[in-house]
């Protein structure tokens, strides 16, 4: 269906397109655009970032909802607990949608509770998956890392919850000083969290793309761009208010990662087409082929990284 030469050309072409798209997006960014339209400047920066985080949390929740539904259905819901991530991720998705539409500042206890519950489910899921691996012959072997319950998958749920939790913290902040989460100024805190999420997700993509033998060169993109984005984000956080070029580059690579997450779903659709019977045999190949809903996780995390930038910019303005 596709020769190796065609795949190489495709990977190169798509990388170019993604770069152009992220450059265009970056160009149309107008710093502080929201603030001009709103009277409550300070409050709005926080709210704007909170909305972006809601968007990220929602995307991750959507990814988990679709992915866990498909994978746990494939596992025949053998354990009742396998319904849990489905329920919590849908709740997180709904509440993130609501949060993104909600123009009010201030904490919402229900959203907060859902996000905390989402974090808990993700942590429990990781423990469950590790337990599942541990009881198989070979224990922590490649075979089990490839094919047993995926260790990294429930972390997406944790990340969704954490993004949401952060968004709630932001909404609570209206004072004229730099708010802190976990002891760090909010921009730095969100930035480091997004970077960790990007790295972890890239690690999972790396494991699964290694399982697929990187048969399509495009499979290298999600294991290289997100770690680069994470590195630049951490550097931005560490560098402090100066280094405008670094910030520009960091935002650009985050945007690349965000667009890539969506393009990734397209590549996975192509992967499904390359399974026996292709899309005509969708009932089987949606499960046998690469997971369609997984790549947008990167988009969600990249949004969080961009929100961190907004907050960092704001922090700079507030800095004495």
């Amino acid at each position: 269906m596709f020769s190796r030469t065609q795949l190489r050309a495709l990977a190169a072409g798509v990388t170019t397109l993604l770069s152009l798209a992220s450059l265009l997006w970056q160009r149309h960014e107008r710093p502080g655009r929201g603030r001009l339209l709103h009277t409550h400047g300070r409050e709005h920066v926080m709210l704007d970032a909170a909305h972006t985080l809601n968007r990220g949390a929602g995307l991750l929740a959507f990814s988990v909802a679709a992915d866990s539904a498909m994978e746990h259905y494939r596992g025949d819901f053998q354990n009742r607990a396998m319904y849990t991530p489905l329920v919590t991720s849908v709740l997180s998705l709904v509440i993130s949608g609501q949060g993104q539409q909600d123009p009010r500042a201030g904490n919402n206890p229900l959203r907060n509770a859902v996000y905390v519950g989402t974090i808990g489910t993700g942590l429990a899921g990781t423990a469950f998956h590790l337990y599942n691996i541990g009881k198989r012959p070979g224990r922590l072997s490649w075979s089990n890392l490839f094919y047993a319950a995926p260790v990294g998958a429930p972390s997406a749920l944790v990340l969704s919850g954490v993004l949401g939790y952060f968004s709630e913290r932001l909404r609570g902040e209206t004072q004229d000083f730099i708010p802190r989460i976990f002891g760090l100024p909010v921009g730095q805190s969100v930035g480091l969290m997004a970077a960790a999420g990007l790295l972890g997700t890239a690690l999972e993509a790396g494991l699964l793309h290694f399982r697929g033998a990187f048969q399509n060169p495009a499979m290298y993109i999600p294991v290289s761009a997100p770690p680069l984005a994470a590195g630049l984000l951490v550097a931005t956080v560490a560098a402090g208010p100066a280094y405008g070029r670094l910030r520009w580059l960091s935002r650009l690579v985050l945007r690349f990662t965000a667009v890539m997450g969506l393009a990734g779903a397209g590549f996975h659709a192509l992967g499904i087409a390359r399974n026996h019977g292709g899309w005509r045999n969708w009932r089987q190949n949606l499960q046998a082929g690469p997971p369609l809903p997984a790549p947008p996780s990167f988009t969600g995390l990249a949004f969080a990284g961009l929100a961190a930038h907004t907050l960092l910019e704001d922090g700079r303005e507030l800095a004495p």
Binding site: M1, R4, S143, F146, N216, N275, H276, A288
Partner: protein, 552 residues
């Protein structure tokens, strides 16, 4: 489509008129170059399996003119391979043969194929390398004979074949020298393979995912394996990487011609004592293809049969037979199994039959009361094959058979591929009877020797212990059974004790080559297809070198 249509390929040759079947499409064609009969081609290759098909591709790509012949049909897997064990017997070489000896061979399913692509069309895809010491088994291990090829040379060619077939193998292989990473990752283990893993852990030995020639991710026109489980009756998705869908498409692109339903009956030799071409039967009559070189790649029964049947006044004992060894030293693999019943649902028909393997007794020489080694693998016989095992080995019939078959989904098993020693008494010769082409049929005599039986006993004790270790019940041993064919035209360093040299060139006739499992001096405890292809790759490279030096 009617049932007859699925057999259309057997009726009239397909590869003609400048085109050949496209194996990647249900009905399509690909262009094929054709060569006239009366002009000598560089190479006439008899057989298109692991030896001949590989060689055809490599030689054609090196710029030689090549015509390859196969007695079998050119199937299109996507449209002509049914999920039906009985129907798929169309892939086996079941022509009449006289089988004798203490352990007369059962020919067909696991040792001979009759199709373009040879038996790789229905092989179990198990792609293992020989243990390095086996290439010098006489000097290092005290049995058999040494190969004339160095193991590092062979490992170089193993690498080439593994790349071409996109072998899906484990990230780390537990035995032998470090090997390069397999091009594709291991497959998911089925419950049958997990049972092997648990049995090995109970016995305290290593196990791993089996390196298999079926894809674990898409590759070119081939999709990844769907774990349909009909591997040994013909893969209908092309996930299996056989000679039919890897080397032969390359051969055609390289300019080779492949003639299907073309049975070669005799190699002609000229007054100079050299081979001058082959007589083959196609379309109801005999034809003669002139050639500068003839390669015989018909596997360990048909190869000696053709050489012996090509006897002429100058070579009264058959071609390449001054050593008297053509047809002798036929080897098989012992293929015994231990079976048992477990409480868990296994459903071993899912996926390739042998997803997990232990080569422990190939690499460990401690406490052995026999020479050689064996690998053992998890099993997944399809229902008809399993019923046949019950009838053939345990004599179950009627209600007893029905009752036994009820347990099918809970059955587990471990089966060996065991090394057998070369013995001159195990041989292929010509019988008086003649087949449909008027050719004398092969007489195949085979008997295990004491060492072979000791190996089998060791294996059966060990495998039963493994099954006991996972609390299997109703354990029984299948003591009959062989797989694969090797020997009958062994390679060596000395014209008096071998038929061909390390380059697969016959000692007696310098433009006659033998390139298939026949040239194995020893059998090793692993499935032979990877080694045959590696030898073919090496031979092609050597032929290229010799041509450049004017030594052909």
């Amino acid at each position: 489509m009617s049932a007859e249509l699925y057999l259309e390929a057997l009726e009239t040759p397909r590869a003609r008129g400048g085109r050949a079947p496209d194996v990647f499409s249900p009905t399509g064609w690909v262009p094929m170059r054709e060569y006239p009969l009366d002009e000598p081609v560089d190479f006439a290759i008899v057989g298109t399996g692991a030896g001949g098909g590989t060689l055809a591709a490599k030689l054609a790509e090196a710029g030689f003119s090549v015509v390859a012949f196969d007695a079998g049909a050119w199937w299109r897997p996507l449209s002509e391979f049914a999920s039906d064990e009985e129907h798929q017997q169309k892939l086996f070489w079941t022509d009449e043969r006289v089988c004798s000896g203490d352990n007369p061979l059962v020919l067909g399913t696991n040792n001979s194929g009759k199709a373009v692509g040879g038996s790789t069309v229905h092989y179990a895809m198990v792609s293992l390398r020989f243990r390095p010491e086996w290439f010098r088994s006489r000097s290092l291990l005290g049995y058999g004979v040494d190969w004339p090829i160095d193991w590092q040379d062979m490992w170089h060619y193993y690498r080439e074949v593994e790349q071409v077939l996109g072998i899906s193998g484990p990230v780390r292989y537990p035995w032998g020298p470090k090997r390069p990473r397999y091009p594709y990752r291991q497959h998911e283990l089925n419950a049958s393979a997990l049972a092997l893993a648990r049995a090995c852990e109970a016995q305290g030995i290593d196990w791993t995912s089996t390196p298999l020639a079926t894809l674990s991710a898409p590759r070119d026109q081939a999709p990844p394996c769907v774990y349909r489980g009909f591997c040994v009756t013909g893969c209908s998705t092309n996930a299996k990487q056989s000679v039919l869908n890897t080397w032969l498409p390359r051969a055609l692109k390289g300019g080779a011609e492949v003639r299907d339903l073309a049975m070669v009956g005799r190699i002609e030799t000229g007054p100079d004592g050299l081979a001058s071409g082959v007589h083959y039967h196609r379309d109801g009559s005999w034809h003669f293809q002139r050639a500068r070189h003839v390669v015989v790649a018909g596997y360990a029964i048909e190869t000696p049969r053709l050489l012996l049947n090509s006897a002429c006044p100058r070579y009264p004992d058959g071609l390449a037979n001054s050593s008297g060894l053509v047809g002798k030293n036929l080897m098989v693999h012992s293929n015994q199994a231990a079976w048992g019943l477990v409480d868990d649902e296994i459903r071993w028909y899912k996926g390739p039959p042998s997803l997990a393997i232990s080569e422990h007794w190939n690499y460990c020489d401690d406490n052995k009361d026999f020479f050689g080694g064996y690998a053992f693998m998890s099993q997944g016989p399809l229902p008809a094959a399993w019923a046949e095992t019950q009838v053939g080995n345990r004599g179950l019939w009627g209600q007893a058979l029905v009752d036994e078959m009820e347990k099918y989904n809970h059955q587990v098993g471990l089966k060996i591929v065991g090394e057998t020693l070369p013995q001159e008494r195990n041989r292929v010769s010509l019988a008086d009877e003649r087949d449909a082409y008027g050719l004398p049929i092969a007489r195949v005599s085979y008997s295990f020797c004491d060492n072979d039986l000791r190996l089998i006993n060791h294996a059966m004790r060990f495998l039963r212990g493994g099954l006991e270790g996972i609390d299997a019940r109703e354990i029984w041993s299948e003591t009959e059974g062989t797989a694969h064919l090797m020997g009958t035209a062994r390679m060596g360093d000395d014209p008096r004790t071998s038929v061909v040299n390390a380059d697969c060139r016959s000692w007696d006739i310098r433009n006659l080559w033998i390139c298939d499992g026949s040239v194995f001096p020893t059998s090793g405890g692993v499935n032979p297809s990877l080694t045959i292809q590696a030898i073919a790759c090496r031979t092609a490279d050597r032929i290229g070198d010799m041509a450049r030096r004017g030594e052909l």
